[in-house]
Amino acid sequence: MATTKRKRATTRADNQASSDDLLKYYREMLLIRRFEEKAGQLYGMGLIGGFCHLYIGQEAVVVGMQSAITGDDGVITSYRDHGHMLACGMDAGGVMAELTGREGGYSRGKGGSMHMFSKEKNFYGGHGIVGGQVPLGTGIAFNYKYRGENRVCLTYLGDGAVNQGQVYEAFNMAALWQLPVIYCIENNQYAMGTSTQRHSSSPDLYQRGVAYGIPGEQVDGMDVLAVKEAGERAVAHCREGKGPYILELKTYRYRGHSMSDPAKYRTKDELDKMRKEHDPIDMVKKLLIDGNIIDEAGLKDIDKEVKAEVAKAAEFAQNSPEPDVSELFTDILIDA
């Protein structure tokens, strides 16, 4: 029977996050933020073209979910994907070089910001059509079940994608065949410029699986510990062979939908309030300081390391050559 839950009251004591875990989350979230800020800067300099969708503000979602799975599990998402790739352990330089369209990028410059993959890290894209990744991720889970492997596929989608018909086609089959897939709905409250209130008949997206008997819960997606804890429940459900699970991760993107979006559809106060009161990185920072796990100087060292890693990635992305012209005609078909 499907159960849907409102956000559980999550207390810090419940979470049992170790000092090492907290430091790890801090570092990983910071890496994503600094990486995205740098990507925004390179875009502004004309070094990154096309569409570039930044993940700033949503870092706790991918870092929390990633900490609930193992490296053998699969991850797939749509086009706001840089954070997912870094959370999967993909190299920042390789990701940034894909953004700049260079040979050193994960797709050798042929995919770009929205289409990037790493078979090695079980990251299956990076898909540009809203909702398209949902059946694909369900198919990855179908593959795990077909082969009898106890792996799960995290299939991320945004609050905009939940209104695509194919999402429900996938939900139905995943429930029907009990596939090990976790649908992580990143509800950042705006489908491009249209707020959830204006695009969704019910604001409770975690209930979108009720008709298919898929359990769902709403989670504070700005709280990495709450995300991790919910993620672990969902993963356990899948690994026990009980089929799909839905997590609605309430989050917020600080930047516009893409680089050219001035985000006039929301107020400055709304954004400032999220930044000041719910910032996922500040939250962990406070836990670290209040818990005497690390002092300001120690945090500064981490900041410097992260900054150096991002600077190195940006340098690599600018110095890596453009793909050889012969690449235009490679990877279209595999030689039979």
Partner: protein, 480 residues
């Protein structure tokens, strides 16, 4: 060294903008993410966030300045430990000179290589299999490797339906990763009974009945194929695959390229294509030219049972996404098929079904039968027609077509689909490019009429290309 803050671009096409407002002043301490300024173009206003932390050392461009070039230095930030004296050298730098009169520096990606490659690539892309300058088609070494039916000695009579079923069953026996998925493929034994018996032999893990949910199961099967499984997706008819065409093109066909070769997609999309009988406009359409348009796909359209068996086996073994266009009317027709489990036909090779000297008739799928009948009628009238069964639409066997046209000097193309941007249009172009001087008459195209398929029996006959149209076209190009 102080950190330069550059005028950012809001989009790849922006070259300059207005620095509308500074939110900070010299001496302010800033952190990453702080909004330091606002810029405007004719389209939008955008906030500029600090990427680095430090102290605002110098504001170079005053607020309100218009036409500030992208990438011009608008301010300097002093890093921890730096003081204003660090600015002494930089502020004199010419880079600080604000509004650029000329166009902003273009992104490196916009210049040189891609443009150059486009120019050099064009002839390659356009030439297909043969360079235009080649008077003689390239020697076809592959041809020697062809396992055509002729090289087999033992045959059995089979319907197209049985041949397709046997092809799937044989490949499923040989490879655990091959499975069939679609509507009514298992318990119902196939809406057109093509998958008859497969459930009994392979069980419901490998013969999967789906809900009626084309985009869903097509996307799912594509995701499974990314992981190395080899799905055979049956569409009850290809008309319903229009619901799923996004995954066929955007996911299955393009991901190998977009992933820089990391993720292949060994999948077969199969089912009846084209007109059946009296099922009206939404169930009667040929999709050959739709799919053949797209790089990353192979498109096959068998005619005989031997085609069906040999090509479907090849398609299942192929590591690429394949659109396999069958024809409902052909399912019940019988042909001789080599009685050998190793019988496989090469993808990308046409077959000359009937040799002739006066005119070449190119056809695929059900039109091959009509072309052969037309050739008989033409023979009675003293015209020797050569009939080519394309078998594969993409990659097109340009060599076989060109070689034939060089012999006959006349060409008729046949297809059920509409003429506009159809397969006949492509073949006519290819022949014009490679054998222009060999043509003694303009290429004639026999196609479906340019109308949605009518239901009324008399109108349906009129909408579809018939044997007599081929006869008439062949005579016309022979000026008879």
């Amino acid at each position: 060294m102080p950190i330069e803050v550059l005028m950012p671009a809001l989009s790849p096409t922006m070259t300059e903008g207005t620095l509308a407002k500074w939110n900070v002043k010299e001496g302010d301490t800033i952190a990453s993410g702080d909004v330091i300024a606002e810029i405007e173009t004719d389209k939008a206003t955008m906030e500029v966030e600090a990427v680095d932390e430090g102290t605002v050392g110098k504001i170079v461009i005053a607020e309100g300045t218009e036409n500030v070039a992208v990438n011009a230095v608008i301010a300097y930030i002093l890093e921890e430990g730096e003081d204003a004296s660090a600015l002494d050298n930089v502020s004199a730098s010419p880079a600080a000179a604000a509004p650029a009169a000329e166009e902003a520096p273009a992104a490196p990606a916009a210049e040189s290589a891609p443009a150059a490659s486009m120019a050099s690539a064009a002839p390659v892309a356009a030439s297909g299999a043969i360079e235009r300058s080649d008077a003689e088609p390239r020697a076809m070494s592959v041809m020697n490797a062809t396992q055509d039916e002729k090289t087999y000695t033992k045959f059995k009579t089979q319907t197209v339906r049985e041949a397709l079923r046997d092809a799937m069953a044989e490949e499923m026996r040989g490879d655990e990763n091959v499975f069939v998925m679609g509507e009514e493929v298992a318990q119902y034994q196939g809406a057109y009974k093509v998958t008859q018996g497969l459930l009994d032999e392979f069980g419901d893990k490998r013969v999967v009945d789906t809900p009626i949910t084309e985009i869903g199961f097509t996307g799912m099967a594509t995701g499974a194929a990314f992981m190395g499984l080899k799905p055979i997706v049956e569409f009850m008819t290809f008309n319903f695959a229009m619901q799923a065409i996004d995954h066929i093109i955007n996911s299955a066909a393009k991901t190998l390229y977009m992933s820089g070769g990391q993720l292949g997609c060994p999948i077969v999309f199969r089912g009846p294509n084209g007109a059946a009988a009296r099922v009206g406009a939404q169930h009667s359409q040929c999709y050959a030219s739709w799919y053949a348009h797209c790089p990353g796909l192979k498109v096959i359209a068998p005619w005989s049972a031997a085609d069906a068996k040999g090509l479907l086996k090849a398609a299942i073994r192929d590591p690429n996404p394949i659109v396999f266009l069958e024809n409902e009317i052909m399912y019940g027709q019988s042909f001789e098929v080599p009685d050998d489990e190793d019988f496989v036909l090469p993808i990308g090779q046409a077959k000359i079904e009937r040799e002739g000297t006066d005119v070449t008739i190119v056809a695929f799928s059900i039109m091959v039968g009509k072309a052969l009948k037309a050739a008989e009628k033409l023979a009675e009238q003293g015209i020797s027609a050569e009939v080519i069964n394309l078998r594969t639409i993409r990659p097109l066997d340009v060599n076989t077509i060109i070689r034939s046209v060089m012999k006959t000097n006349r060409l008729v193309t046949c297809e059920e689909g509409w003429h506009f941007a159809g397969i006949g249009a492509e073949i006519a172009s290819v022949v014009m490019e490679h054998a222009f001087d060999y043509l003694d008459a303009p290429v004639a195209r026999v196609t479906g009429e340019d109308v949605p398929m009518p239901y009324a029996a008399n109108l349906e006959v009129l909408a579809l290309p018939q044997e007599q149209h081929i006869v008439d076209a062949a005579k016309a190009v022979c000026y008879r």
